[in-house]
């Protein structure tokens, strides 16, 4: 110890050093004392295991876990996204890119005039803060609990609209298709559209 090295006492560590000093008990009973030390290890075998055998075993996340985004659909399958870019505006990481598009009578993707033509989320940038979800005026964008977002290239981590769109559930039709008969965008937002109507189904040319 040279003069310049601070002593343990100067840090208030003298006591701690004394406590952690090795036990130098050479008596016959010390063998059992040492076995006693393994009791914790032994007892742990019978405790509940916390380790999960991921990826063979997967556990559910917390209910409100911020995972991959999803673009939701109305009950008839039309997209809720109107391409307003408010999510992109809210995003602190500049991870979202949106281009709006014009719904036409022949190609209707969402109720009303406007739909999201291009929708990309860059998961290399996303910080899963959820501000985009708060900004969304139509509840089109929500987050799922999916967390497995690792991949081996940049390209694959920029999710396109088709990667983000919710799957078609029962009663939903794949857009583009016309709006529910006698409905307006307001009817859709109020949740008054029950599901798809036969008139919305594509006419197939046989």
């Amino acid at each position: 110890m040279d003069e310049l090295t601070p002593r343990d006492s100067e840090y208030g560590l003298e006591k701690a050093a004394a406590e952690s000093a090795p036990i130098l008990d050479q008596s016959a009973g010390s063998f059992f004392k040492q076995l006693l030390g393994f009791w914790v290890t032994f007892a742990a075998q019978f405790r509940k295991v916390n380790t999960v055998q991921y990826p063979e075993e997967k556990e559910a996340t917390a209910e409100r876990f911020h995972g991959r985004h999803q673009l939701n659909r109305h009950p008839d399958g039309l997209e809720k996204c109107i391409g307003c870019e408010l999510c992109a505006w809210a995003c602190p990481a500049d991870a979202i890119y949106v281009e709006g598009g014009d719904n036409t009578p022949d190609e209707q993707y969402s109720p009303g005039e406007r739909y999201g033509k291009v929708y990309q989320i860059n998961y290399l940038r996303c910080v899963f803060c959820g501000l985009c979800i708060e900004a969304c005026p139509t509840r089109a964008l929500t987050m799922t609990n999916e967390y497995e977002l690792a991949d081996d290239s940049r390209r694959k981590l920029i999710f396109e609209k088709e990667d983000l769109l919710a799957p078609l559930r029962q009663g939903m039709l794949m857009p583009p298709h016309p709006m529910y008969p006698d409905s307006t965008d307001t009817t859709y937002y109020k949740g008054e559209v029950p599901g798809s109507h036969p008139s919305q189904e594509p006419t197939t040319n046989v």
């Binding site: 109107i82 307003c84 281009e99 709006g100 014009d102 009303g112």
Partner: protein
């Protein structure tokens, strides 16, 4: 609002929110408050439109000499008075409450569909609802709804739900553009903006209504749902379409131009521009763009090549040849200068001409005489006592001049005389006296302005007569070409008889100036050929190589392309997009469009209009850069690596201070008088037509004026046709059939649009003016 400081105006001091402010008599309260930096919310108020007091958002408390108005007053309609004390929303609770009340009423029927509205993010209603509105709505009723949107023209969409009835659009159309096609219909809660069903909103200036709409009621069809303001990178720019020289703003998202707006320049375009300048920019992203240099191979086909290969091929093709240079009228002054220097230094010739249109030697002489004296400005138009338009239709050929003239016509009934074959719609709006002959013009003073258009070259002796008239009357004379680059090209010396700065080629001391500036030992002394002579010379081998900038051969003559095609002439094309010239060229070099480079245009006033590169990461190169590289390859460097280098050189060279060339002296020739079945053809290009730079913008093309054959009443009777009946105009080459319009035109004349859909005079008839054509009922 005039920015001119005149001392004889009475100044008035008023107190606004406890601060004194002194403003000229007649200033509105809202503007006096602005001077103090006090922002009163407003929608209908616009400094360039007459006060309307339509939206009531700008209510303030006013007291004059101790007598207060019983209720808050609209500050956008009340001029300041002595002893006035104004309390805005900042100091008066009454005013603040009144403004919040108005905002609440405006929002009652507003759909609040900001997420789908194009204006969202740059909307005065959105902003002022935040700054001067209530926190939350109290309205629980059902909002008034309309069908949305309705198209009031192919390029302007109206969403009546969003409208706050400020009447900015209707006032603009009536007061500024003179096209009152749009109006407020109905009254009360049902009041709405509408169009006359019989008269579609075919205004050349309709885009301005979109820009000044304070809500998202009027939106442009081409920009609909494209972007949000925070996505856009805005660059101040200049318009490349005509010689008016509008200041512009170019908005780019990820390397793609999404919209262009009128910039503010009180001296030039005020805050307006025309629809062509606003919407015709799709040519930049056209699929027809030349993507890489191309060289014609042994198989006769063009093949993509690397830059070094293409430059080597171009240099080999030009070296030792007798070359001519056709610049085209759309170059920046920097690029024109590069062409001018390239022709003289690398090609050793004065055979260069920027005029890719009908032109004459008389015009070249006229241009030489005015090249150093381009000094008339928009301000002179404002102050003029009489404006004479010669072979010039401002509404079609330089729309901002039209707006400036129309403003003076409305304000003080400015006298306008036009030398034209017929009264066009523009002339009618200006209340112009239409004369067929220049010699009938009288009453010109030193305050008068003569504006002569490029079409004067189509009448022999016209430029001579114009020069004489300007000299004898003392009136100011300005030349207004149609294309943006022509004045700059003239100053840069991209014409056979002038060197840069307006120096006559024939003058030895002028040549010495340029020789020393360029560091060359000699310059060609013989005045160069005009465009038509260059083309003709290619047929007999007097010229065996041409460098072609942005030129459409059909603008020059019906034979121009054939003249280049049939011979062994080496053709080097510097082009933006594939064209008739690139199809026959031996080497094609792709050049940058205006938004991809920096530079400047010179407008008709001689005012430089600088612009910066709007698309920052564009890899295309300017003509200047390419010509400089080519000159290096040829071993005769012109040392112009960038537009900046050109600007420096041009400044160092300066204007010619010697004697200007004398005005032309050409006597008019008498044209054959057609018989009853024939007529003399007249035409000009309409603002919106089949021009190359308007390609790809269908919404804009939808508002182009349809082609019409204008005939006189007596001819219509003789032919037995009525308004709208089809009439065929034909020559030996071909014919044009279009609906007839019976107008105030000379009995011996017929008028057609020069390059519109269904009427392309040079392509269809082989000529554009002066020709005797057959007119018959179709």
């Amino acid at each position: 609002m005039s920015t001119e400081i005149t001392s004889d105006v009475e100044m008035i001091t008023v107190v606004i929110d406890g601060f004194d402010v002194t403003v000229p008599k007649g200033t509105l309260v809202i503007r006096a408050a602005e001077k103090l930096g006090i922002q009163i919310p407003r929608f209908c108020d616009h400094p360039l439109l007459s006060p309307a007091g339509a939206c009531r958002q700008c209510l303030v408390d006013i007291e004059i000499n101790g007598r207060a108005f019983p209720k808050p007053q609209a500050s956008c309609t009340i001029p300041v008075e002595n002893g006035m004390i104004v309390k805005t929303q900042l100091t008066s609770e009454v005013a603040d409450k009144a403004q919040k009340g108005i905002m609440e009423l405006l929002l009652i029927n507003h759909p609040l569909d900001c997420p789908v509205c194009d204006k969202g993010g740059e909307c005065p209603l959105q902003n002022q609802a935040m700054s001067n509105g209530r926190e939350s709505t109290r309205y629980e009723g059902v909002k008034r709804t309309y069908e949305k949107p309705t198209a009031i023209s192919s390029q302007v969409l109206l969403d009546r739900e969003r409208c706050v009835l400020c009447a900015r659009c209707t006032r603009f159309s009536e007061e500024i553009a003179g096209d009152p096609f749009i109006t407020l219909n109905e009254r009360g809660a049902l009041q709405q903006v509408g169009i006359y069903e019989k008269d579609p909103f075919l205004s050349y200036f309709s885009g301005n209504t979109v820009q000044i709409c304070p809500v998202g009621a009027l939106t442009g069809a081409s920009y609909r749902f494209r972007s949000r303001p925070f996505d856009l990178v805005s660059t101040p720019s200049a318009c490349e379409h005509c010689a008016s020289g509008c200041a512009m703003r170019t908005d780019v998202r990820r390397g793609k131009t999404l919209r262009r707006l009128a910039g503010e320049d009180a001296e030039v375009n005020e805050e307006w521009n025309c629809d062509k300048g606003r919407w015709a920019f799709k040519y930049i992203s056209s699929k027809e763009r030349v993507a890489s240099p191309m060289v014609r191979g042994a198989d006769g086909e063009l093949h993509e090549a690397s830059w070094p290969e293409a430059l080597a091929a171009a240099a080999a093709g030009l070296k030792g040849k007798r070359a001519g240079v056709l610049v085209g009228g759309r170059s920046t002054i920097e690029d024109s200068y590069a062409y001018a220097k390239f022709a003289r230094v690398a090609l050793g010739t004065n055979d260069i001409d920027f005029r890719a249109r009908l032109h004459s030697d008389e015009e070249a002489a006229f241009l030489a005489s005015i090249a150093t004296r381009i000094n008339v400005s928009y301000r002179d138009l404002d102050k003029a006592d009489h404006v004479v338009l010669i072979d010039f239709e401002p509404e079609d050929e330089s729309p901002i001049i039209f707006l400036r003239l129309y403003k003076q016509v409305r304000k003080r009934s400015l006298t306008i005389t036009t030398i034209a074959p017929l009264a066009s719609r523009g002339s009618e709006k200006l209340g112009a006296t239409v004369l067929s002959d220049l010699s009938k013009v009288s009453g010109l003073t030193e305050k008068s302005v003569i504006l002569v258009g490029e079409r004067a070259a189509e009448t022999m002796g016209r430029f001579t007569a114009v020069s004489t008239l300007a000299k004898s009357s003392g009136a100011k004379l300005a030349w207004v070409p149609r294309r943006a680059g022509e004045v700059g090209a003239l100053i840069a010396g991209a014409i056979g008889n002038l060197l840069p700065g307006g120096r006559p080629v024939g003058d030895a001391s002028a040549r010495v100036d340029i020789q020393s500036a360029w560091g060359v030992e000699s310059l060609p002394t013989k005045a160069g050929k005009a465009t038509w002579e260059i083309l003709e010379a290619t047929t007999d081998g007097r010229i065996n190589a041409v460098v072609v900038g942005g030129v459409d051969p059909l603008d020059v003559s019906a034979e121009a392309l054939g003249q280049l095609l049939d011979t062994e002439t080496f053709v080097l094309s510097l082009e933006i997009s594939h064209s008739a010239i690139t199809a026959i060229a031996d080497v094609v070099l792709p050049v940058a469009a205006v938004s991809e480079k920096s530079g400047s245009f010179i407008n008709w006033e001689g005012r430089p209009r600088f612009f910066e590169k709007a698309i920052a990461d564009s890899l295309t190169r300017s003509d200047t850069r390419i010509l400089s590289a080519l000159a290096d390859e040829m071993g005769t460097p012109i040392n112009l690596p960038s537009a900046k280098a050109v600007a420096k050189e041009l400044q160092a060279i300066g204007k010619w201070d010697g004697a200007a060339a004398s005005a032309p002296d050409v006597s008019p020739i008498s044209l054959p008088v057609p018989d009853a079945a024939h007529a003399t053809l007249h035409s000009w290009r309409q603002l919106l037509d089949l021009g190359t730079l308007q390609a790809g913008e269908e919404n804009l093309a939808g508002t182009a004026r349809p082609a019409q054959v204008v005939i006189s009443k007596s001819r219509a009777e003789a032919l037995g046709v009525g308004e709208g009946d089809a009439v065929t105009v034909s020559t030996a080459r071909g014919s044009i059939t279009a609906p007839a319009h019976i107008g105030a035109i000379d009995d011996s004349a017929v008028w057609l649009p020069r390059n519109s859909n269904g009427s392309q005079c040079i392509a269809n008839l082989g000529a554009a003016s002066g020709l005797v054509v057959k007119v018959a009922k179709a």
